[in-house]
Symmetry: D2
Subunit: 292 residues, 4 copies
């Protein structure tokens, strides 16, 4: 990706990298080396890694188990991964405590909220995706942030009398402003879901504002997915299909990798590490942090 | 589902039915006959049907096509379904016009926004899911509403100077209040994604507030999905897994149907129609409409 | 399929229908009404239905079970279907007994073997796919017949001193001779695997013998599958891909249905029943039965 | 696998490794280092690699292409891999020429046929899976051998007057005799299909002959597959399910890897290479080669 962008002689930006789904250590590595300029994530990806960062643990078990027995012991299952429900709640309470320190009369974007949370985590020396992104000036968008422990945490705060306002439109606005400032973008989708569509739709919004002469599809694209095109959904759809919408450039390079991300992403990160010594320059998004 | 709930002798609620993904006519039918009490939807499901309702059309084509050629003619492709980009924009502009009539100094939940849009569409005699739900007092939640034409439409309004605030926390709050008022719930998942998790997480929120003695998992559950459990994601996970989290009751009945919803949902709706003559009573959610 | 063939004005053949995977009653119905001219099957499809035909039963259970416990009680599991191992062995012994009545110094094709077994079952008034096909002069090919209870049954006979010779080449020869006698073919694939490839390869064999001027791909094609094209295998591959090989005609009609056959096949059979009153004429394959 | 078997102190056999699906170089490596004791393969796997071994080439292309155009140029497509039809026929003719040198009044097992073909290829210095297996005394079974270029090749020979008899029962007999001589087995499934079931059924055949006291399920098991358990087929079924049938031991270790084999197999082979310096001893199957 990187290499391609450089070969184009572009000297402004390159390589917006958008993400979702787990693999914390790999993501930390990618963020620290600035292989990621902007991260678009699910809520689970960036909340469940906090569980570990503050002392919790995930266990590998069998997917063939009596779940009513697990419930009795308050162990939550994700296919063959187990976690202690009490540690899950500790993570939710941690976020809820943070939320109670936020302003009530302000509309937050998820990017803004996660910037402040990253600052908080960083000051507490808690190493996780959100804090690493903060330290490296990588903005994180999480359009469906309330569909996760974040939603539960912030409802707890609200019920205790502290209402935080998480405005969805502001997410669309800020991500569009990022796209407006760069000349060329590349995207990497790990999984699909809301983060994929949120990132794809950025490419078509400018057109609506400024007309078809201003079509700015993503030029480079990689997708790692276990979904399939024939179901017709956005998660599994091909980049060819995205070309018809003006979301992906017919002139760029794109690769679809049908594989579980826990297998494919480490291989990709390893290869990136071997082939790219360093990125010469990367976009500065500190202006976003000053955005209210 | 219905039948089961009645057999339980419950006289308060039954059959919360939550939805996402298309099948407009089937959904209209289910709403009008109140087989659905609450609808949780993706943005696409309830925006792309407005395109047709205001005069647009979807076409069936081949998935094997030159997408750069489609782009040239501004035809958007969803696997083997085609649509005119100009009609898509007309739908987005329609929603944008509506949004410009909303209050700027108010935090809207998606339920509240869609209630008002339903009223607007109903007054214009435009028959679609949102207006049908309005007419039948069925609340619609759309937690990731900005991940669709709605997001684009509302950003257009914002750029034209009219900022609507779509607060995500308010969605979590309102859906939890629905759950707090009912004795027993049943859920039907058409696909997975954010609507599934949003609905599942309602079941665990009360526990956090009130303690484990108040565990109120969904009792009845059906899922129609093309995803698979082994990938570990929420969309494809089994109800057994959900039992461990306290989201689904180990004592209720649940069925997973691995099938494309465009095949399975009409069969389900047909069977429901044949076996249930009418629902004796259904919950009244008009109090939600009065919620600000 | 039928309708299409008639519209073509063909008066020789139409509607070779090749099958695999279960659905006994539906298949019986299709065979009796001669919607199937030739059946290509897996071994399981046409042996496991004999288990029921001679008095055994399949039970529906849960896929979440302790299989070591099932083993202790000699209950065999197919995902959520259970069967008594003793009944399975009874079926294998039934076939083994039949095999011991066959000639030892003769090379059998699977078609020939199944014709004789069908006669035997028919005489015993045992109603199953093999006997129904016999009674309706529908030949059955089972290229991987030994990959099932048939293989086990015939090895038992061999170990008891009675060696039956099941020649694979003879299957290829006979199926090619069928194709040589018909003007036009249509194929329906229920699942994929060996039966699909065996049927597809018939279309290319003539070319090798007689040259490219004699390319006779299947004209009509339907596939019901849960596999996906991107894995590159024959089971999930598209009919477009098959066009490149000369297996499927670019001028015919073909439909791929990504669905479990237990859902899609009954719908298809029902629709066929409603729309086609009777087949005017169908090919006579009695000459095959006289083949040694 | 290896390591486990040694830990058991077994000094007779270990690591029967059964295979299907491509990856020629990896398989050659595994055979030469005797990480494979017995190979069970599809026909395509061991015929399409001969195409390359005798000078042909596979090309990577796009899956989005006009297949009627490919047909015109006689280019065959496997998803995104292309091959020249003339080279495919050259491979088939090569096998057909070999087949015309075999005895006509003899019933061959696929193992026997492939042993002789391996000898022939080895003498011609053609390096491919079949010749490498021959040189390393690794028997290959190919139960559905006629469902591939082999079937076409042998039909061509038959039509030219030279009938080879490929007896399916003999395959079941010989593979069972292998199993009867070893104390403990481990299996690795690359994909599913007939090779998987053929290998699984070996474990239950002895029981039928000798009674339930002689249950000898495979102790170690690995599967790499893109299929899923919920469809109920043998290809995607879990090893837990196989435990109920007595095919897989409840006391052994087994791992299911849901991944495309072209990604997973090289990783597996690499790890095996790093962790196992050499196999101390491996079973001698030369007695099989003397089997007529």
């Amino acid at each position: 990706l990187e290499t391609d962008a450089k070969r184009e002689g572009s000297d402004h930006l390159y390589g917006l990298l958008w993400f979702n789904e787990h693999n914390r250590n790999v993501e930390d590595h990618l963020i620290e080396n600035r292989f990621i300029d902007v991260l678009v994530s699910t809520g689970a990806n960036i909340s469940e890694d906090i569980l570990e960062a503050i002392g919790g643990t995930y266990w590998q078990g069998s997917p063939q188990v009596d779940d009513a027995e697990l419930l009795k012991h308050r162990i939550d299952r994700f296919y063959d991964v187990y976690v202690d429900e009490m540690e899950y709640r500790r993570m939710e309470n941690f976020i809820s405590d943070f939320a109670r320190g936020l302003k009530q009369n302000h509309a937050y974007s998820s990017r803004e909220f996660l910037h402040l949370l990253g600052k908080h985590l960083s000051e507490m020396k808690i190493k996780c995706i959100v804090s690493t992104a903060y330290e490296n000036n990588v903005p994180i968008f999480c359009p469906a942030i309330c569909d996760s422990g974040y939603g539960i945490a912030m409802l707890l705060a609200k019920r205790q009398g502290h209402s935080v306002n998480m405005d969805r439109i502001k997410d669309v606005d800020e991500s569009t402003r990022v796209a407006e400032r760069v000349k060329q973008t590349g995207v990497i989708y790990i999984g699909g879901g809301v983060p994929k569509n949120f990132t794809q739709q950025v490419a078509v919004i400018l057109t609506l504002e400024e007309g078809d002469h201003n079509l700015t599809p993503h030029k480079y694209a990689v997708q790692i997915t276990t979904d399939s095109p024939q179901w017709g959904g956005l998660s599994g759809c091909t980049f060819e299909e995205a070309v018809s919408w003006g979301k992906i450039s017919p002139n760029g390079r794109h690769v679809q990798c049908y594989c579980d991300a826990t297998i494919a992403l480490p291989i990709l990160a390893h290869a990136l590490d071997e082939s790219v010594s360093n990125r010469r320059n990367h976009p500065d998004f500190t202006w976003l942090s000053n955005t209210k």
